[in-house]
């Protein structure tokens, strides 16, 4: 993190404090995200029930509130069946890769502005802030593909293999559109550091500076579509299309190993939602954040939850793509569109029109400080 030049003993103390803060931050982030995961599954089931005119799980606890706990206990206690002819080592490795990479990218998101605490002093509400945070997220996400591909391969099952192949093909294709959609934001903000990108999006009331209003509505749309495909959700859930492939790449996984794939799917949803919030919807920016910094945390998670709600809503309403449609949509429509977006952004940036307007609206946040 950021340490000034101090005398050695003081510096090592400072380092130790920073390391301890980071560890605590990671612990809190993981706990919060895991709790969010548990209740997203519950919300998803209840809300899908609502869309489809049925009740959903409502028996465990008041209104089904303890259902995730019951599910967890069930997953842990179930028999763990390993297929006889599976490739043992890879079969165990796959869920580990998926979950680890899904958790790893959580540490770079700034979930709040600087806050003042009684003992610790001023701290930034971001676990690790570094120069290439955005690239780190993309890199970690791209490693996550292996988990799914290897899970499909090692299960020694043709449905799993097809699911794994479909998934890796789909994720490679849509990663391209996803990355290209982000370039517009990078061009506009001139940095890969997520914290600076968020700080740049403060405007009137913390709303007028959001990138989605500033040149990037197209980029946002492309990102959103690619992100849904990247997380293998409806309408792009070809890798686990149950009418064709049983359950896709995790057909042969049981008990908690299946649970890990399940966790990873939702964590990836959180990751792409957080990235969308950070890059396009102003992160923790919102009305009165400067006066009350704590509000930023609520704004950030509120926006993330909005995205999660969108995911569930889509799942309840849209039918599934066919695989060749999915591929041609990605390569022949989204990628060219993303390139057009880059060209437009670059042209406007270069011509300086954007700077001129932003001088009046975005940067000089005048009366809100």
């Amino acid at each position: 993190m950021e340490c000034g030049d101090k005398s050695p003993p003081a510096k090592s103390m400072e380092d130790l404090k920073q390391a301890a803060l980071m560890l605590v931050g990671i612990l809190i982030a993981f706990t919060v995200v895991m709790t969010m995961f548990a209740y997203t599954t519950l919300t998803e089931r209840r809300f899908l029930g609502f869309i489809q005119g049925r009740l959903g799980p409502n028996r465990v606890g008041p209104g089904g509130l303890l259902q995730p706990v019951a599910d967890l206990i069930k997953l842990i206690c179930k028999e763990d069946i390993v297929p006889d002819k599976s490739t043992r080592f890879v079969y165990f490795l796959a869920p580990v890769i998926v979950t680890t990479t899904a958790l790893m990218s959580l540490i770079v998101y700034p979930f709040g502005p600087e806050i003042h605490l009684p003992i610790l002093g001023t701290i930034r509400l971001v676990i690790a802030r570094f120069d290439v945070a955005l690239l780190y997220v993309l890199g970690v996400t791209s490693v996550g593909v292996y988990g799914i591909a290897l899970a499909g391969w090692s299960s020694n099952n043709k449905y799993s293999l097809m699911g794994g192949l479909r998934s890796s093909a789909q994720m490679i294709s849509y990663e391209l559109a996803l990355g290209l959609a982000l370039i517009g934001v990078i061009l506009q903000s001139g940095t890969l550091d997520l914290y600076s990108i968020v700080e740049q999006q403060a405007g009137h009331l913390g709303i007028s500076g959001w990138n989605v209003f500033w040149l990037q509505p197209l980029g946002f749309l492309i990102y959103l579509i690619a992100a849904i495909a990247e997380t293998n959700r409806v309408p792009f859930d070809l890798p686990e299309a149950e009418t064709e492939l049983v359950a896709g790449f995790h057909t042969e996984y049981s008990a908690m190993k299946f649970g890990l794939f399940f966790v990873a799917e939702y964590l990836n949803m959180f990751t792409v939602s957080m990235l969308a919030t950070t890059l396009f919807l102003g992160g923790w920016n919102g009305p009165f954040v400067r006066e009350v910094p704590w509000l930023g945390v609520f704004y950030f998670f509120g926006k993330v939850i909005l995205f999660l709600f969108l995911y569930i809503w889509l799942r309840g309403t849209l039918p599934r793509f066919r695989f060749d449609q999915l591929m041609s949509f990605g390569w022949k429509f989204l990628v060219p569109l993303a390139i057009i977006n880059i060209v437009i952004t670059a042209t406007i940036e270069w011509s300086g029109v954007f700077d001129l307007i932003s001088k009046y609206v975005k940067v000089s946040a005048g009366w809100w400080g």
Binding site: T87, V90, D131, L138, G139, L161, G164, I172, T191, D324
Partner: protein
């Protein structure tokens, strides 16, 4: 602390590299290679080059190796059998080259480090995105452009190779896994004819296409 991390990741990289060469299952080799790339990325981070590290993971571990794994899975490459060593004459040459490499390392460690240290400029911005970008587009512009032309050549070359006399005409339009073949694919004189020809098994489709089945795959 840094030394500890270096030993950890260097050891991991070397271990994965040895495993990559020694494994006979191509998929295990590929996984080991991914391990090498990721350990190298970690080493770059300890050397204060986060941008290179991130790009290493995105490009090598995230894109190229995914394609390799994909191809291995798609073709279902079998375990390689242990064959008698061909070209034994090359073994002493390899040992000689390895010795040269080792000597170079020793030379660097003992002689270059012993020489008086050259003053380095302020290192605070080396390895950051903006300094790399500025370097690429100012002082190293020509090599950068030449590299892009090289990559373009590789892409064009790959397309040319794939198209020349291949089985599939450009407009075949086959869905992967589909066993309904367009007529234009079977009849080379009539390319682009998409009237379907139904086949019932993979073997039958292969026979119609003239692809030899090397071994009997259980249906």
């Amino acid at each position: 602390m840094l030394a500890l991390l270096f030993i950890l990741f260097a050891g991991l990289a070397i271990g994965c590299a040895i495993s990559m060469v020694a494994q006979r299952n191509p998929l295990y080799s590929a996984i080991s290679l991914i391990g090498v790339f990721i350990s190298l990325a970690c080493l770059y981070v300890t050397l204060a080059a986060p941008f290179i590290a991130a790009v290493q993971v995105i490009v090598y571990a995230g894109a190229i190796m995914v394609l390799v794994v994909f191809v291995i899975m798609l073709l279902n490459v079998e375990e390689e059998e242990r064959r008698p060593l061909r070209m034994r004459a090359l073994v002493p040459v390899a040992i000689g080259l390895a010795a040269v490499l080792f000597a170079e390392t020793v030379f660097i460690i003992f002689f270059v480090q012993a020489s008086p240290a050259t003053p380095t400029r302020n290192l605070s911005d080396v390895g950051l995105t903006s300094s790399i970008g500025a370097g690429l587009f100012t002082s190293y512009l020509l090599p950068f452009e030449i590299t892009s032309v090289l990559l373009l050549m590789a892409i064009v070359g790959a397309i040319t190779l794939a198209r020349r006399g291949g089985l599939l005409p450009a407009r075949a339009g086959v869905v992967p896994g589909d066993q309904v073949l367009p007529r234009g694919m079977l009849d080379r004189r009539d390319p682009g004819n998409r009237t379907p020809v139904a086949t019932h098994t993979t073997k039958e489709a292969g026979r119609l296409l003239g692809v030899e089945q090397r071994r009997d795959e259980g249906e």
